[in-house]
Subunit: 341 residues, 4 copies
Amino acid sequence: MLRFDSDYMETAHPKILEKFVQINFEKNTSYGFDIYSDSAVKKIRKECNAENAVVKFLVGGTQTNRVAIDALIEPYEAVVCASTGHIAVHEAGAIEACGHKVIALAGDNGKLSARELEGYMKTVTADETYEHMAQPALVYISFPTEYGTVYSKEELLSLREVCNEFSLKLYIDGARLGYGLMAEGCDVDLAFLAKVTDAFYIGGTKVGAMLGEALVIPEPTKVRKIFTQIKRHGALLAKGWVAGVQFDTLFDDGLYYKLASNAVETAMYLRDGLKKLGYEFFLESPTNQQFIVLTDDKLESVKDKIGYSFWEKLGDKTVIRLATSWATEKSQVDELLEIMK
Amino acid sequence: MLRFDSDYMETAHPKILEKFVQINFEKNTSYGFDIYSDSAVKKIRKECNAENAVVKFLVGGTQTNRVAIDALIEPYEAVVCASTGHIAVHEAGAIEACGHKVIALAGDNGKLSARELEGYMKTVTADETYEHMAQPALVYISFPTEYGTVYSKEELLSLREVCNEFSLKLYIDGARLGYGLMAEGCDVDLAFLAKVTDAFYIGGTKVGAMLGEALVIPEPTKVRKIFTQIKRHGALLAKGWVAGVQFDTLFDDGLYYKLASNAVETAMYLRDGLKKLGYEFFLESPTNQQFIVLTDDKLESVKDKIGYSFWEKLGDKTVIRLATSWATEKSQVDELLEIMK
Amino acid sequence: MLRFDSDYMETAHPKILEKFVQINFEKNTSYGFDIYSDSAVKKIRKECNAENAVVKFLVGGTQTNRVAIDALIEPYEAVVCASTGHIAVHEAGAIEACGHKVIALAGDNGKLSARELEGYMKTVTADETYEHMAQPALVYISFPTEYGTVYSKEELLSLREVCNEFSLKLYIDGARLGYGLMAEGCDVDLAFLAKVTDAFYIGGTKVGAMLGEALVIPEPTKVRKIFTQIKRHGALLAKGWVAGVQFDTLFDDGLYYKLASNAVETAMYLRDGLKKLGYEFFLESPTNQQFIVLTDDKLESVKDKIGYSFWEKLGDKTVIRLATSWATEKSQVDELLEIMK
Amino acid sequence: MLRFDSDYMETAHPKILEKFVQINFEKNTSYGFDIYSDSAVKKIRKECNAENAVVKFLVGGTQTNRVAIDALIEPYEAVVCASTGHIAVHEAGAIEACGHKVIALAGDNGKLSARELEGYMKTVTADETYEHMAQPALVYISFPTEYGTVYSKEELLSLREVCNEFSLKLYIDGARLGYGLMAEGCDVDLAFLAKVTDAFYIGGTKVGAMLGEALVIPEPTKVRKIFTQIKRHGALLAKGWVAGVQFDTLFDDGLYYKLASNAVETAMYLRDGLKKLGYEFFLESPTNQQFIVLTDDKLESVKDKIGYSFWEKLGDKTVIRLATSWATEKSQVDELLEIMK
């Protein structure tokens, strides 16, 4: 079967495994105080143009969201996000497990607009009973979103403005960050994200790493005792270098961007190919996730030949997601297109 | 000023104060093991036709909701309610503080229908990613609702059926329970609530008591170590009889119902009077809370003469709430009607 | 039976009930924004010589401890207390329920000394693994302690010094505060407590009120959004004046102190009487709780005639607690002494 | 420098890295539903003689303890452990973060005896105020302990008996499980642990794996919705096979035991060598952690040549820990002994 189910099916870029083999018997200092983590932190700070940034390596998006959000706000404060946000739907209540209410606004194709956010904040802050409510202190957005869409520089600046107006922090879930940064038409880079947000993470698990996400908090005074907090969440790696080595490799000579670009390019090739074949798209995504609308007959005829993710029913049709990754080859897309003919 | 702001502005029915004066220097056993609490529990069990029911006296709706919901479900389980539900809006994230996600469905005039609940549950349980979600384990409804509306026997039975289908518990927030039970056309009584729900509470604070709510869990096996849990929530009264005496008095010779009836009757009188005067109502409420739609001119002209609760803006008009209580006198309504002319 | 079980067996000082009767049908503003709460806050601020103090009325010691501690420190921070501290033993894990580790040091007769605290803090902060530990941020002491003992001004100043050295907050559980302030030889008053602590509470439930504790946070910048936090804990009184009226009465013309003095005086009378009869005391307590050591024979012979609290087994003897209260009369002590002869 | 600081300084046994290289571009199913995890689970179940056991792969001891304990007991229930237990000291309050009180008994050389446990449980359950306490529901022990000591079969059976008497669950933290199982004189194996405990974990991170721990819950009915709970803790691996491959390799042909044996053998060689040199030992440890007592002069003279862990001050001497691992070579011990001469 030709699998386009997701972007985390392969293990790791070969350079990472090579590095592990090479350093295997070196004796490293634990808990992230090793030379590889140190080097990776420096590279990421440089890339973010944030020389004092707190950079911590964690494992998995839910864990990183938990740790970051819980460190950035008080336990009695709430988070605002789009209704499709990962924390609102697919994290099994991990944010609530830390005591925070998650307030989901409708959003649009996975994105939360400054206008929608401002409307909501104006309404609640004007309400006489606001003190009886869980009060928002942080806005969570995904980049790219769960629907593969990305925010422009202008959109992020507008969100930031609303955040400033209402004393909200801005946090970006970057599980697939590379795929967003390399998206067609994206005008945003790491240095900009470090300026516009209070924290964000650079996803490794889905972009070439075996596992690992790099949480970036550009302004270190925004959090206290982050090491202890990470430990308390059960998120501290005894062998910190296992993540450190990976990010050190990914941010060596732009490997992270190259891997991300491969996914975007093969996705665009797939998209164009399917469009030529007349397929209907659920929405326009400039990233590695493509959402197509299939009749049940069509789905039935291909479902044993290709791996995909079911997304949702749309009347009598079905939306499926096809995802490319850093490891996808153009020839695999050609095979897919052949099957989909 | 003529105050119709809410139903908890007076202190307590005189019989309660008299009782306190009478027993003031008696030495009572603490933590609810006194004779008054014991007597109150027996009366409530009898009224509920649930002789083994756990009955606990707490203070305040948010506290009671916290304790009850947290005792009924596991920390990783979620609660479903209408978007207007008190726990969803006005409890400052108290349920999330215990780790539970609160899932708000739209609802209709404050009510959650069996159909809407079933639709939601069918969708999520059919979703392949359901195990990644915070899974509902309890349905929260208010009786009467935050909009003064009430559920019929049939509606509650339908909700129960859906709950059974999806292994959900059913819990009723009865902050104003008396006003619902005595509502025009209500076909529900305490014994029925004890049969149809897993737990509910009989609100005292808003229905004649100085303070206190009686949490009723008809089937005692549904909760474990409830005494210890109440203590852990900071909700255990050292002087349990302070609540016990009140419920013992309220459930003596039907006082609770009489007090509730007074509020409903004066509210219906108010409603009819305002209708005659041509006022528009936001919705039909058969209970002590009445929601009327006023032009800004009208509101301006009366706002210094009457006390009311702002509810919401409705285009260029305003919805206000007028509430009667166990202590409202018909003559006060007459005065109000005079002002509103 | 002659009951000396505890100091919370009577309902309330008659002046409080009289006041309730008097204002019963007044319509009050809710959530603590009423005139009685306002007046009580002003009186307490004055008594504490802390004109900007946050003063909030809550119900019960466990609730007040939960709210105060959780508001004063971060969720990942720990509390240090004596092993006999109420939060360490008898609050069903209420502090841990908010995520905080409770670290119990041995203490001495219920008291925590500056020396013991400093020794502990020096050890842990010098430990290389300190960042892996739950780090103390607040010291909890009781005044008087669970064993009836009190701290002197000098002892409190020493504790404060250690707190300053290690950036710890100092919090006093004052469930029986009055009985400590009026203790023989006590050189501490409310104004001093307001200076030496970050927060403390003035217990009402055990000192003349029907229920209610006044949480005092002398420096308002020490907490944020305390109203919302109180609500989230389920601790906000809809009828705030129910507590307000009580503290307004207790702090009218020094009633609180007079009531406390009565308990201390009758306790000293009881102590002296029992000493004359040759009874052994478990420790010296200058407050309303007296701990005596009885042989099993003696205990057997009086246990049906007097109410007491079992404290602990001491070899083949038993320690019991006898407590006087604001309502205890000298003649009741005389009766007790007669029985104990 | 010759490093004996800890047993988690090398990356992974070469067979594990080889396997990763070999399967690198295979497309695996996510969240643990891959063929390697499946194979690893089967091998572990077989080794445990528990064919229905829930086996889940997590990352790190703190995370595994959090997930396991929180899944096994109710949020209001407490955990009992030795005062040296990892959860009591070095997990930054991770267990309290889930709401559970951790009750630390003294213990002896890291071990908790049935006698001490029984004594504690008898005292608290006999206390009239037991319902006001956080009540123990689970006993946590480490195998081997933080001091390298191990429990015998008989000791574990005695603990189990006390657990049964008081309805406590028994849980083993097996961060270094292999080193315990292969200890000199150990009469315990995985199948016995699966019988005597309610849950335990097989540590991989410190015993040959790059990272990963295998949580084993022999009787699946002991936990509900464990997948969702793991996700909520932020502990679900998107690429489950990253852990699966490792345990599949470790439990292939007894590799786990061989690696553990190497650490124990080199530790015994180190111990015997140091004893011959006249060194004092802090306690007798039959496992890979050895604790020796050094004068300050001696410590000063070797501290730049060898890596060790500071353990504690002992009067004017110092206790240090030297740890061997699966990767330690005899020649490295020879070098150490040479330096220590």
